[in-house]
């Protein structure tokens, strides 16, 4: 169910996210010290263009990457195909991307 185009998109978003995942885990290890609080997190991220760009790129990439990955699973394990499968995967991409960008804006706005 994965054509050449979708394959390229999935591998490309994987490459884009590779440094972002390392950055995210590093941030988590740093942030989790001495407990988590909204004030601490927002103190670092609010108004920051860097975090906006970092997590904005992450959110868009993961939405595409996850939608394509789920496409394979939905076809192979749930037997979905054709227009129904495509529609669901678009919904996942747009939905995840939307929620993700909203989260990014909430934390950096």
């Amino acid at each position: 169910m994965i054509s050449a185009r979708l394959y390229i998109l999935q591998r490309a978003t994987a490459l884009i996210m590779a440094p972002l995942v390392i950055g995210h885990i590093a941030v988590m290890i740093y942030a989790v010290q001495n407990g988590l609080s909204a004030a601490e997190i927002l103190g670092r991220t609010q108004g920051s263009f860097f975090w906006l760009a970092f997590y904005g790129l992450f959110a868009v990439s993961v939405a595409i990457h996850a939608a394509i990955g789920l496409r394979a699973i939905l076809h192979e394990w749930a037997g979905l195909k054709g227009a129904v499968l495509t529609a669901i995967c678009w919904a996942i991409a747009v939905g995840l991307g939307g929620l993700g960008l909203q989260a990014v804006y909430s934390v950096t706005g």
């Binding site: 169910m1 994965i2 185009r5 394990w77």
Partner: protein, 262 residues
């Protein structure tokens, strides 16, 4: 019963699939164990001495033709090259040997499967040779030292026995998927300097049943009796077809032409 068997013999429980299409059941037989006995010997013994109605395929019985491929305890193998002792040594005592037809192909009867779709996919992958010269032309020289020829040679020994096809879970869950054997063959042609169908092959392996559905489970490589590596061949196809698709996309973008629906 043959006269040559010793008086005291160990009997092996063997569960064999009987039936056609979706319907069937396992039937248990008891087969005397012997030295250097192969699974094909076991199946043949049952058909010759116990149930002549048991249907199975074999030809060369020396590990060259691939006709005797079946599932043995859930693993696809050439039964003429599988020693019973090797399997039973790894089984719990009391467990029987289970023999069933190759996975992922329709069952005609008992241990015989319909290989048509397997061969159809070979053709669909454009994995049949595309000639570029005629008998009137000089023979095209092939340089054995090039990386491409070595890649082609590494993939070329496939005898289309369908063991890899039976081992692949993507084949099982994606009906369009061309499968490891067809894609492996396509890769050998992509690397063959005499083959004129490179673009046709790359297009054929770029669709919804194409090489990009391979998840690198590598069961094909693990179980291939000829020690081929379809996973590596498919990785090569992924690279070449992705580059080909990128070039098409970029050349369309550059020329400003509206592309055809891919």
């Amino acid at each position: 019963m043959p006269d040559s068997l010793p008086a005291k013999e160990q009997l092996l429980d063997v569960h064999i699939w009987r039936g056609s299409g979706e319907k069937g059941h396992y039937q248990t037989f008891q087969v005397p164990m012997q030295e250097s006995q192969t699974i094909l010997d076991v199946v043949s013994y049952i058909q010759q001495y116990i149930d002549p109605g048991l249907t199975y395929r074999f030809a060369c019985r020396v590990g060259m033709c691939g006709s005797c491929a079946m599932m043995v305890n859930g693993v696809p193998r050439w039964t003429c090259r599988t020693h019973v002792k090797k399997i039973t040594d790894r089984m719990n005592p009391g467990d029987g040997l289970t023999i069933s037809p190759l996975r992922n192909l329709p069952v005609i009867k008992d241990l015989v499967v319909d290989m048509d779709l397997f061969f159809d996919k070979w053709v669909r992958a454009e994995a049949a040779h595309h000639p570029t010269r005629t008998a009137a032309d000089a023979i095209q020289p092939v340089d054995e030292q090039t990386a491409e020829r070595q890649a082609a040679n590494a993939a070329i020994e496939c005898i289309n026995c369908a063991v890899c096809y039976a081992a692949c879970d993507v084949v099982a869950s994606n009906p369009d998927y061309l499968g490891p054997a067809a894609l492996n063959r396509a890769w050998s042609l992509v690397n063959d300097v005499r083959d004129g169908g490179r673009e046709a092959i790359l297009e054929a392996v770029s669709g919804t049943g194409g090489c990009h559905n391979c998840h690198s489970q590598q069961s094909c490589q693990k179980y291939c009796p000829n020690e081929l590596n379809p996973t590596a061949s498919i990785a090569g196809l992924k690279r070449e077809s992705a580059k080909y698709a990128m070039r098409s996309l970029l050349s369309l973008a550059g020329s400003g032409k509206k592309g055809e629906k891919a």
